[in-house]
Symmetry: D2
């Protein structure tokens, strides 16, 4: 028997491959789907079935790519939508994989047609439920993505799905959700990589609201919606192109990199410190670990991308972009910033400051304007910074006018990584006295200079 | 957070590495312990703690090897025994790994001092219990290993451990045992790679005996005890030697292979068909997939081993031997049987027969004597073969005299793999008309020639 | 600087990737071309140029596949032919790769338009010549492939190419040919993985014939031409399909394997001994190591292939087939012969005999008919076997009528591997008393029973 | 046949494994020697012989480590020295590896007892000569390491070895040296990864001095001698400890990292830009690519090392240190500088400047003092920078007093990497106005602001 979770880091996306006998099923595959084929081949299994839990909105699902290579049949939830591929799942529908059995459970709420899949083991014992974005470890799916005016209705569905369908499966059932901690699809997913119905029933903060009204009141909120979601939704109905097998960005020397596709956006995925010291003028900073989470906010789909990476020899960047539908990468700077400088080109930098220095400075330099780009929930949880102006990073582009151009701007986030994104966006628009606070709130909280 | 199960195939041994913050703990490590260090290094973690659930008897625990490389502290259960390394665990003792917490639960029964470890997540929620050989998916630990005359006493302890300590943890708790399906440590471990207290409470056949007397009656049996267990127990108290990092068997040409260490036992790990066609005279057949399970029955520790492998370039054989304390491998036949034959050497073969041919033959050749080497439980579960004589494979060496030398012997098992072991043992002792039934009972059951 | 030889085992095909600065060139790429992209990416290089030395006839060149993924430009030799892709190379044409320079040398003989490429190092020093199939270590290219009636003419061209163009480059120049030892493209390629003009000039047996007439007489011979060459030649002009990235054969259980595509040919790539003990009825034996060399003789392109492999989890078989244009693999037997027998199916076997037994038997069993399937050159080099009938393996299908059906047939080759191919072909056509001599001539020569 | 070059990047050290039949020989193995065993195992070969070309001085030879794991016999050159292991090689001595043959050639000059090994192929043809540090591509070995007062004598020996022994082998012989481009053992090794006697005879600049006197005058110079050479020499006579198999540095959080081993030197191997933006106070900068080349100059053996790496999950840093005998790594900063700042700690930075800004500044800020840390040969080859003060990086520690403390110091090298080493050394000693010129001379030469 094969049961493997395939995690796509960055997205915190969990997909699953389950095999028995000679067959295997994949749930919510990712687009660079070679990993499933390799796992199946190693075990002598054939991928016959692909199950989607819902019309995904935060990544390009790999069903079409995987079906093209394996001949597997695709079954999709949200059958009421205008799908261009696969067959819609019926509630109660069953699939056999060797001696295992999977059954579709109707669990709407996150989307209108969300489906969970209950896996029975070789003895017929109900064993694992794959809940997609309906139920996570420590959180539940968002209900504001279908229609911001229908969150109450969707929360109502979600209540029924969780309290009426999932919890009655029994405390002992293992829960395998579609995302782990760090996903944009759940606000507060716990770092409990494996969980159970009982653990969620007893400890998931949302499920402590046991009456329908309480629950609805607790979850029927509108959250941020990254602009790229619309594109993912459309691609996931029409079926995205099958990507060339080996994600590949063309290495280019400084000359070619500078001249090719002048409209392209330059994306610098190095860590914040290297970016701060020197970057190609105009480059947007998103460190590799935050790429999947933030690129959809700041990089439009109608522009080509030019990459500056820490490690040219890795395909991690291109894979992450591919999973979000960014297929048009014009090239990557070969030799990195060293080659750039060796060619005599100019670069830009962003000032940084440690929290200790900041502490002194706040007295000396009353003129400094502190920009806090953390989210509302971080502010609520970690405390505000006295005198700071708050614009959540994801809103910065729209609200940039609120940032003064004539004062030194000190940017603050949790650690300094997101601040560097913000600083790069400001610099591109002409702000020239922007400084990132290294360590951010984590550092600030570690020293004695108190939050004022 | 890091939570990984490391499975040693063959043994069906499960070890675990859990990390958070900057630290990691390994539970019941295996002897070729590089895998834990690589996982930890990749995540920027340091292995500080090694926990043993009990004095293992079916493999050489890797605690000393792992401690030698990492400086981690070893904590062992069964503290009443005469350990030469590490510190004994106290019931209730706790360890912190980043924000995680592990607590020792006293769960005797399999051994006198068996301990389970309850892991609490970052929010302090009881989450996973590592049960060692106390509780498996679908089975419980054996109670006959401490002393065959004290099985009732040990079963009594086990009842308390399971019904008094583990089940009360709650149905929702995830159970991570020390073995999976296929281990010699549980008779009937289920292929449920991840399980929960509730799944076991409701579906584990042993736990359906809910009264103490019923339970004790159900589990207080004496099972086979492979002879190598004694050696494992001794090594696991004294601390086995730290193995050289890269398991390595010297490749040897036919001449050297034949002449080196004439007392050595020749072990042929190829699949049964290749062995049947031709093997080095005197070689014992144990196919690679059954090596960990059977080598301890048939290969003594005071003999060197000479290997004939399917795939010379793989270290799988040497690793499996190392995990069972077989460190003295004299060499491997370079170029395999092809080189052997190219050097003009003689080889032996074992006849095979398909089940259809057997069906005809049983009429024609009334003289054939059928030897069934399946276990008692297989006989009970799958049915007996009319007219067959039953000696379980593991008893064949002692009971070989019961096999007639003057009649054609047809050997039968589940599929033909274990039959080939049996046939090789008979051939070595001079039986010369031995035939293996290909497909064994699985094949026999698939055709219409009925079990008589 | 990057200079790597990529060897495709089986074919003994050598391709090369050379990179400097930010660019790389690939010479004669193979069809599963991910390897070049990975090497280039790791070094921050971009593959801009693909060079073919000639219209290849023994494998599907990967130029189109590699160009599709990288955008590289393809330059082909044999420009007089009706190519459907790329641009023809002009003699003397040059390419710059960073500071390196490559120049095309006109070296006809193997084909009419064969080209060699002379690489100059960063200082402009002539350094390495890529000779394709014009000059090998210890041999020269065949001159009979263009037209068997024009071998003298082609040998004449080859004389000029080698003595007039290549040798004058200087003894110190390194030679990188298109094939190594074991290829079907050279009769006697030496195991000198790297060689030089001087080593060949002094030690290549063909080049000891220094006058034009001697040389032509020495090389203008007609050799065997595997039937698949015609297909390779056609594909290499028209441009083969770009293969899906991950070669993948569908695993199938015995039922499906038996029933799918009944016209398909069953190809068993296990070692000779496993095959001899039991194989799916009708399966053709070609051990994996001989697959590339022999499949083109015995497997037509208009039949699907069903595979029985030793190691299901490896893609080695499917890759080798892909490189020869066999894209239509219906499936692979999941679980191998064990699954086949467990399903109660019948299998066939081939008898084997050691050389010692044969030695005795030749007296006793005067009736045995010995079939020697070695090549003419092996017979010449190693000696004949008295009383044996000689049909080279590759001619066996056409000359099968010469093999008696009413006598026991003993098949002989160098070692027993090719004999098993022959035996499988005979068995498929109804011969039922066929025995393979294990060890073949190598074994026979090692014992005292003399060649008679 | 197996012939593989194993390159240790950083050191540009070439070792070789050659196998045939069932045996293999390794020439000048490195200390982390698993790579040879894996290669041999994959080919079914046994490493029986280890050959050293001379008492190495620039890395710890892995002979003892490899012998400990394989039982191979060690043969060392420089037999007149006081070796504690192995057997001395006699000139003319021969070894057989399968059908291959190796012969020792006496080639003193780099050391008194340097030996080259001439490999004959399976047909007995002289094929490849392994020249150790006697002859490189484009350069010859140094003659000043034995004794700076005996360079003429050693150059005289080298003349005989090259002109009397190696060149007469014939232009066609392939040369496999002990180092490639970038090594500290040759001043100007060419990027000609494979070379021949003829290529060197015709193009190696040193060998154009064909009379003894010219040659001696050309090579009998004293070059820099990194201080770590003495330690390597001693270790290579006595036999270094066998390293634990998996190089492993303990990850530590900021607290532990700061407090452990306060005497330890902090080594920051990130790229120059990340270091410039922020580093642990007092850390020495040596980017990973330059580690092997520079660590021996700046890190003494009697101090522990604490590491700050770009990529914690890689063992590349620890391996490079191990090869130079730095076995005492106290730990690595887990989470890198981000964790450091998140803990509220202070960091230091180094200013940087682009060449364009420098161009403007040179007018404005007449006060700036330019430090050029390139080598003499770079100055000679690339030109000097008007007004710059020259101290080669390796001499900076001794000559630091020459650098003014009261003026802004601008550090210049070829690209900015070595300048950052210099700047970090200055900063540690209290210089506080140090700026690194990004792009260095490469950048400077690319712009119009001319060298003055």
């Amino acid at each position: 028997m094969l049961l493997e979770r395939v995690e796509s880091t960055g997205l915190a996306h969990y997909s699953y491959i389950i095999g028995d006998g000679r067959e295997a099923v994949v749930i919510d595959p990712r687009r660079d789907c070679g990993v499933y084929i390799e796992l199946a081949m190693r075990e002598g299994l054939r991928i016959t079935t692909i199950l989607e839990t819902h019309r995904n909105e935060d990544y390009v699902v790999g069903s079409c790519a995987l079906a093209a290579r394996t001949g597997a049949m695709i079954w999709h939830a949200d059958g009421q939508l205008d799908y261009k591929y696969g067959e819609p799942v019926e509630p109660g529908q069953e699939w056999r994989i060797g001696q295992l059995r999977l059954r579709a459970l109707d669990t709407p709420g996150h989307t209108l047609g969300s489906v969970s899949y209950l896996l029975h083991d070789q003895d017929g014992v109900p064993w694992i439920v794959f809940t997609g974005d309906t139920l996570f470890a420590g959180d539940v799916g968002r209900v504001d993505l279908v229609d911001v005016t229908r969150t109450d209705e969707m929360a109502d569905h979600l209540y029924d799905s969780i309290f009426g369908t999932l919890l009655p499966l029994g405390d002992e059932i293992i829960v395998c959700p579609g995302h782990g901690s760090g996903s944009v699809c759940g606000m507060a997913i716990a770092e409990r990589a494996w969980t159970t119905i009982g653990l969620e029933r007893r400890h998931n903060p949302r499920l402590q609201h046991t009456t329908r009204d309480d629950f609805v009141a607790s979850v029927a909120h509108v959250h941020e919606r990254p602009p790229y979601f619309r594109r993912m939704e459309a691609l996931n109905l029409s079926g995205a192109d099958v990507p060339a097998s080996f994600p590949y960005a063309r290495p280019m020397g400084p000359d070619e990199f500078e001249n090719v596709s002048e409209q392209a956006i330059i994306l610098d995925t190095r860590m914040e410190l290297g970016y701060s010291a020197a970057h190609v003028p105009g480059a947007v900073s998103i460190w590799l670990g935050g790429l999947s989470r933030f690129v959809g906010w700041f990089v439009p789909y109608d522009q080509q991308i030019k990459l500056v990476n820490e490690n040219e020899g890795s395909d991690a960047t291109v894979r992450q972009l591919l999973r979000l539908g960014y297929d048009d990468v014009a090239g990557i700077l070969s030799g990195g910033m060293l080659a750039w400088h060796n060619s005599g080109r100019i670069s830009q930098s962003i000032s940084t400051i440690t929290v200790q220095r900041l502490c002194y400075l706040l007295d000396e330099r009353a003129n400094a304007w502190i920009l806090d780009v953390r989210s509302d929930s971080e502010l609520a949880g970690q405390g505000e910074i006295g005198g700071a102006y708050h614009i959540h990073l994801t809103q910065l582009v729209e609200r940039m006018d609120e940032v003064p151009r004539d004062r030194p701007v000190m940017v603050f986030c949790g650690s300094g990584l997101r601040s560097m994104i913000a600083a790069s966006l400001l610099q591109r628009q002409g702000w020239d006295d922007v400084t990132v606070v290294l360590g951010g709130l984590a550092g600030w909280s570690s020293i004695t200079c108190p939050l004022r």
